[in-house]
Amino acid sequence: MTIAAIQEEIIDEFSLFDDWLDKYEHIIEIGKELEPMDAGFQTEDNLVKGCQSQVWLHAAMEGEQLVFQANSDAIITKGLVALMVRVLSGHRPEEIAQADMAFIEAIGLHEHLSPTRSNGLASMVKKMKMFGLAYQAKQMK
């Protein structure tokens, strides 16, 4: 599935909820289901620091695809992290670098991505795209 198609799927999924708390209940569930990060990857180097909550992000190439693992110390942030991983992980670096993450706004969660929110999420998305760019550059060499 393309990055755009996955985002469409998530938008559909969230359209079921008209109450804010139901939406967050779903995010919490997604957070709980996020595949645990390999313990060895949860390092200071992989830490994306936020003022309120922390995010860990690890990236590695598997064949042609860039694969992400991530975690957070707050469950709602973890749910949002899981959504980012679901959208971006397992795609080619150039696709990740160019991805338009419009679904966040479409499901009404863009407030979590504002830099002032300081939950590490905005920096994480930026970092995922940077990984995309970096691996793309590497491949072109």
Binding site: I28, S53, D73, I76
Partner: protein
């Protein structure tokens, strides 16, 4: 405690709420409950009207104008200063310096006192429970001067260890800077004793009173403090204005902070002589509307009576503490004997960001995080807390609904 000569009407929180139209709104379809008062309180219509009327009828630049509006604006602004003098019972009106806020006031002292009175090897004493704004300015000037920052430790309840404080005072100590009330814990510190102990070594004291001013009667002459900093926006006044109180002898003894208009007597390219107090520390056109709005906020507080406000808030604090502790897994951070209306808490291992996000969606404005007190959070071995802080317009009913919301968030996150 209502004194006999008090002309204060019986306290009626529902009447008071009518002065704060902002509280009537719904957020996310839920009634707004505003419990983030330690960050900033809401403004009554009396304050909003004073600012609005100033711009509608009186605005002009102050102090130097000969014309009617300038004199009227100057009078209104200087009335604000005099109201503040009376409010904190300072001896002289020119001991009240208008600043941008508490942070600005502390930076003024760190800069002006630090530059003139700190030398290599000297020490500045602060406490573990300081806001970053009463840590970083001292760190900066200490670094510049080769001076050292010494820190008063606290116990697990969040109270200063006074015996340890006494041991920190020595011939190298040049200043003590502590808060009156902790923004993160609510602890009311024994500032009178802190000041007296420092004075017995001839050491001046700065008190960060940002969290005290809206909650208790302040008396500079009784406290005998040398500097006292506070913010208008935490005491129902506008943002962008605050006060540095300084004893005349100290304000005379330290150099100006910023240079510019207003703060000069005469200027030539060879030499500038500085203006008298308070103008020496007030370079540039000040926040005129802010000073007038602050004056209106003081009138508002006086009209309700600080004893009444303190009693109401204490009742809310006691009520909220009891109700929160009845929820399984809740622990309160900051359990000092003497507390202002701040409850910092954690629920089990739940991250405060999670609970805070869910409470927001239920209409509750609480604060989550380290509250600009990272060293204090480190002392408790936590990354942050959820903080509910109460003001004159809050009700027990609002606390009841917060308790239900905390329980709901707990169920969702477990």
């Amino acid at each position: 405690m209502i004194t006999e000569q008090s002309s204060i009407a019986p306290f009626d929180v529902l009447e008071i709420r009518k002065d704060f139209p902002i509280l009537e709104q719904e957020v996310y379809g839920k009634p707004l409950v505003y419990f983030d008062n330690a960050a900033s309180s809401q403004k009554p219509i009396q304050v909003i009207d004073a600012i609005s009327n100033y711009y509608l009828t009186t605005h002009s630049n102050i102090h130097r104008g000969v014309h009617f509006l300038s004199q009227k604006a100057t009078q209104a602004y200087e009335d604000g200063r005099e109201k503040m003098r009376a409010f904190i019972n300072a001896e002289k009106t020119h001991e009240i310096i208008f600043t941008k806020g508490t942070t600005d006031a502390i930076n003024l002292v760190a800069h002006s006192f630090g530059r003139s009175h700190l030398n290599a090897g000297d020490e500045v004493v602060i406490s573990t429970m300081e806001h970053h704004s009463n840590i970083v300015p001292w760190q900066m000037i200490c670094e510049e001067k080769g001076a050292k920052l010494r820190v008063i430790p606290i116990n697990d309840a969040g109270e200063l260890l006074m015996e340890e404080y006494k041991k920190l005072l020595n011939a190298k100590t040049k200043l003590v800077a502590v808060n009156h009330v902790s923004n993160a814990l609510g602890t009311i510190n024994p500032v009178k004793e802190i000041i007296a102990l420092a004075h017995s070594h001839d050491i001046p004291v700065l008190i960060d009173g940002a969290q005290a001013a809206p909650h208790m009667q302040l008396d500079m002459q009784e406290l005998d403090c040398d500097f006292y900093a506070l913010s208008s926006h935490k005491m129902y006044g506008p943002t962008g204005v605050g006060i540095l109180y300084g004893k005349e002898k100290w304000l005379e003894a330290i150099p100006p902070y910023q240079g510019g208009g207003e703060m000069i007597k005469t200027v030539t390219f060879e030499k500038t002589t500085y203006n008298e107090l308070p103008h020496k520390f007030e370079a540039g056109t000040p926040n005129i509307a802010g000073g007038i709005g602050l004056g209106a906020a003081i009138d508002y507080l006086n009209n309700i009576g600080l004893e009444n406000i303190a009693a109401h808030e204490h009742e809310l604090l006691t009520y909220a503490t009891e109700k929160l502790l009845a929820i399984e897994g809740i622990r309160i951070i900051g359990t000092a004997q003497e507390k202002a209306s701040v409850v910092s808490f954690l629920q089990g291992d739940t991250h405060p960001y999670d609970t805070g996000t869910l409470l927001d969606k239920m209409g509750f404005a609480l604060r989550t995080g380290h509250h600009c007190t990272e060293p204090l959070m480190n002392r408790f071995g936590i990354s942050g807390t959820l903080r509910a802080s109460f003001a004159v317009y809050n009700t027990k009913g609002e606390i009841d609904s917060m308790i239900k919301a905390v329980e709901r968030a707990k169920a969702m996150l477990s």
